[in-house]
């Protein structure tokens, strides 16, 4: 269980003392309003944080510092949360007691705060950061499933779901002033700091109180529901041996809805288990694909069914997905029970995985709930068949996107 302390308005510190892991993990989560400009700035900022800082101005110096701390590591990434997105900065360092080094933890904290506060921003570092983001954007087009999902989402214009979380070509226009403004924004937006490990809590609190983060902050809205009129099928050609089909559903059940857990169980039975309706009937019985799954983007109120198929099977597979959705009405109770058990397993397993534990706690805190594995598991176990079927039946197919493999026919 995390212990939470509010340091300032919308600036929280969550800590979980644990001897389970050989290292200490710190995660700083900044909740930022979702605009393409903010995403692009965050992607560039994330690159700037990456391997240099004012006190370690070369990659070599930074690496030496990290190796001195027994492979201390840090990285940052973006995750969407409906109308906002989160820039997470993650630091990991071996616990001093494990390597019998009493100075290790203090050195690690100093290093971590040095990185957070000393981002090296100049013309050269900005150029390199922008180049890296643009290259990642280009590479996204080479990963067909990811690319198909991005193109499919982009059709729902003027919604947060449509925005490209990896950034887009306009990254090129970002200036030093934009980065300066973005670093000011980071001071103002809601920040949740997490720690899991054996660190002395007071040392961390002192460091946070002396940092640039120590001020009241504003929390932006997160969960939403995608509302869109159904769109006709769109096909885009790609020279590839495989065709990717994406069917998008508006869930009409938002993250705060009392039916949310029932919806998730239904979605797992529909398409997230190796015994799900989609997997059993489209892959196992008809050999039409290798992968097919339904994934829920909870904070946007979206469920996507994604599969890789042959180009001449688009119609037949699309119809079969619809049929399986209809078949949910008559789903076997044992499959619903499997879905419940897998969801509970995933919740309980989060205790063994630092990032899963933090993700689940953070998602709950965004809707003001206390995260408790036992009580959520109990709620899942108590769900009735009717509740699950009623929740999943609210889904509405609002579009179909095909990344059509041109050379596979």
């Amino acid at each position: 269980m995390f212990q939470t302390q509010q340091i300032k308005q919308n600036f929280n510190f969550h800590t979980k003392y644990s001897t389970q892991f050989k290292d200490n993990t710190f995660v700083f989560r900044f909740l930022i309003p979702m605009t393409q400009h903010n995403i692009n700035c965050a992607q560039v900022y994330s690159q700037l944080l990456d391997d240099r800082s004012i006190k370690a101005p070369t990659k070599q110096a930074m690496l030496r510092w990290m190796d001195e701390l027994y492979d201390a590591s840090f990285g940052s990434y973006l995750t969407t949360y409906g109308q906002s997105f989160v820039l997470s900065v993650v630091f990991k360092g071996i616990e001093g007691k494990i390597v019998n080094d009493p100075e290790q933890n203090h050195r690690f904290i100093s290093w971590m705060m040095m990185i957070l506060e000393g981002v090296l921003v100049n013309k050269e570092t900005l150029k390199e950061a922008k180049t890296n983001v643009l290259q990642n954007v280009k590479r996204e087009q080479e990963q067909h499933v990811k690319y198909a999902l991005a193109l499919s989402a982009a059709r729902y214009e003027n919604t947060s779901y449509a925005l490209r979380v990896d950034g887009d070509e306009s990254v090129n226009n970002i200036s030093l002033q934009d980065i300066h403004d973005f670093s000011q924004l980071l001071k103002q937006v809601a920040c949740d700091t997490y720690h899991i490990g054996q660190f002395d809590e007071s040392v961390i609190l002192d460091a946070l109180k002396q940092s640039f983060l120590f001020q009241d902050k504003v929390k932006s809205p997160s969960y939403t529901l995608l509302k869109a009129n159904p769109l006709p099928r769109l096909s885009v050609k790609k020279f590839s041996p495989q065709t990717i089909l994406v069917k998008t559903y508006a869930t009409h059940v938002d993250y705060q809805d009392s039916r949310y857990l029932a919806y998730r169980v239904g979605a797992i039975a529909f398409g997230s288990l190796p015994t799900s309706l989609l997997f059993t009937n489209i892959r196992e019985k008809n050999s039409l694909c290798y992968f097919i799954h339904a994934s829920v983007i909870a904070f946007d109120g979206v469920m996507n069914v994604i599969t890789g198929i042959e180009s001449d099977k688009v119609d037949v597979v699309s119809t079969m997905i619809d049929e399986q959705f209809e078949a949910m009405k008559d789903i076997d109770d044992s499959l619903l029970d499997q879905a419940k058990q897998m969801m509970i397993h995933s919740l309980v397993s989060s205790d063994d995985d630092v990032m899963s534990a933090i993700n689940l706690h953070y998602s709950s805190s965004l809707k003001g709930d206390e995260f408790n594995i036992e009580s959520i598991s109990k709620k899942i176990n108590e769900l009735k068949r009717e509740q699950i079927l009623e929740a999943i039946a609210l889904s509405e197919c609002i579009g179909e996107f095909v990344l059509l493999g041109e050379n596979d026919a």
């Binding site: 050989k22 690496l63 190796d67 027994y70 492979d71 290259q135 020279f239 290798y290 044992s334």
Partner: protein, 419 residues
């Protein structure tokens, strides 16, 4: 030091299966993994009719083993709240699950799964469509294409030139009799390794495994007859050029190293020494690295790979550039000056100690590492401690290994298809 941090128990069942139990009392997840030394490279094995196995046979068998006469085995695992899966690599096939409840029931189910194989012609035929779809998925991935062409460029005859999953043709040709032949030959308890990561007492887990028929049932053992591979020292192709629907050209520059049939531990040491040497020369440890980035010779895609195995060895560099030959020429020149000083060696030892400690944090991935080493007769914890013993002499040997292989280089280019 690392070994003292964890409690393990190793034993062998009367049927010959080797078992490692790692006790992790603080973790909720428990897992079991069972591995057999049968993977993608075993297409040089003869079946009963003295026909060579088809490429992709191990992977095909992995798919089919989930079929059981006693009902849907996937559903049985899900009902227990256990996530089950499998993978086939070049060297081995492994089956595993992880769970937070009913560990012993799920363990028995996994041991059942690898004990029996009952297939029909019809089900074998049905699986071909699924596997061919899987091959198409990999075919569309540029990174997979790089690896596939890397092996093709370096090796003339070695079975590593075949994809783990085989080709569309070889998959089509695989039949029930070859699948059953492979099962009887390789899925013998005496060839199997089993690793459990558990929060239950070691004694109770050992008793549970020993009570399973796989531990006691003595099965007939068939010999494994392999075609001898005579691999020339020279690379198969100095240049390979292919095109794909990608945005920026990508390539691999590789050196085919002299493959010594050393013992597994000395191969691991050699692999570490080569990796250290390349890290010191081609990563941020080198003060010139920033200049290479600024000159756009490399970007953040640039990466290195080292593999020292029993009968094949190579080092490879992955890069992304519009003019790949410029990068390849630079790699070739820089390789002539590979170097590592003692200060950097100690820095890397410290880094790898941290990395090894972190590897102990995730029981589910830890069990996969444990079994891979166990299948090669290596102790995971001994391997983790090995790099601490590395000396400048080991680095010098690795350096000479590279320098003597400079004339055995290949260049693979994957360029954007004209649209």
């Amino acid at each position: 030091m690392l070994k003292q941090l964890e409690k393990t128990h190793v034993f062998q069942t009367p049927s010959g299966m080797k078992v490692t139990i790692l006790y992790k009392p603080d973790f909720k997840q428990q897992s079991m993994i069972v591995g057999v030394p049968f993977g993608g490279i075993h297409s040089n094995v003869y079946d009963e009719q003295h026909q060579l196995y088809k490429p992709g046979l191990a992977h095909f068998l992995e798919h089919k083993l989930f079929e059981s006469e006693s009902g849907d085995i996937m559903a049985q695992f899900s009902q227990l709240g256990a996530q089950v899966n499998a993978f086939t690599s070049y060297q081995e096939t492994c089956y595993y699950f992880n769970t937070t409840t009913k560990f012993k029931e799920a363990s028995n189910l996994l041991l059942d799964l690898v004990s029996e194989c009952s297939l029909s012609e019809e089900s074998v035929e049905k699986e071909k469509g699924i596997i061919i779809s899987e091959l198409s998925m990999y075919e569309a991935m540029v990174d997979q294409a790089l690896v596939k062409n890397l092996y093709k460029s370096l090796y003339h005859h070695h079975p590593i030139i075949h994809d783990i999953g085989g080709s569309k043709q070889s998959v089509t040709e695989i039949n029930l009799s070859q699948l059953m032949d492979a099962f009887h030959r390789f899925y013998h308890p005496s060839l199997m390794q089993c690793v459990c990561v558990t929060n239950e007492s070691i004694e109770s887990v050992e008793a549970m495994i020993l009570a399973h028929p796989l531990s006691s049932k003595l099965k007939e053992k068939f010999s494994v007859k392999e075609e001898q591979i005579t691999e020339p020292r020279e690379v198969a192709f100095k240049d390979i050029d292919v095109s794909m629907d990608i945005e920026v050209a990508k390539g691999v520059y590789a050196l085919k190293l002299d493959a010594h049939a050393g013992n597994p531990m000395s191969n691991v040491l050699k692999q570490f020494a080569l990796r250290f040497l390349l890290e010191a020369t081609f990563s941020e440890l080198n003060p010139h690295y920033q200049q290479w980035l600024d000159e756009e010779l490399i970007n953040d895609y640039f990466d290195m790979d080292v593999d020292v195995s029993q009968n094949y060895s190579y080092i490879a560099f992955l890069c992304e550039h519009e003019h790949l030959d410029e990068v390849f020429n630079w790699i070739e020149t820089t390789l002539q000056n590979v170097n590592l000083d003692e200060v950097t060696l100690n820095q890397l030892k410290r880094r790898y100690l941290g990395m090894s400690l972190k590897a102990l944090n995730k029981p589910s991935s830890l069990s996969k590492q444990l079994i891979r080493y166990a299948l090669n007769d290596l102790d995971f914890f001994d391997v983790l401690g090995l790099f601490q013993t590395m000396s400048m002499d080991d680095i010098e040997i690795a350096k000479q290994h590279i320098l003597s292989s400079l004339s055995h280089a290949s260049r693979v280019k994957i360029t954007p298809q004209s649209k």
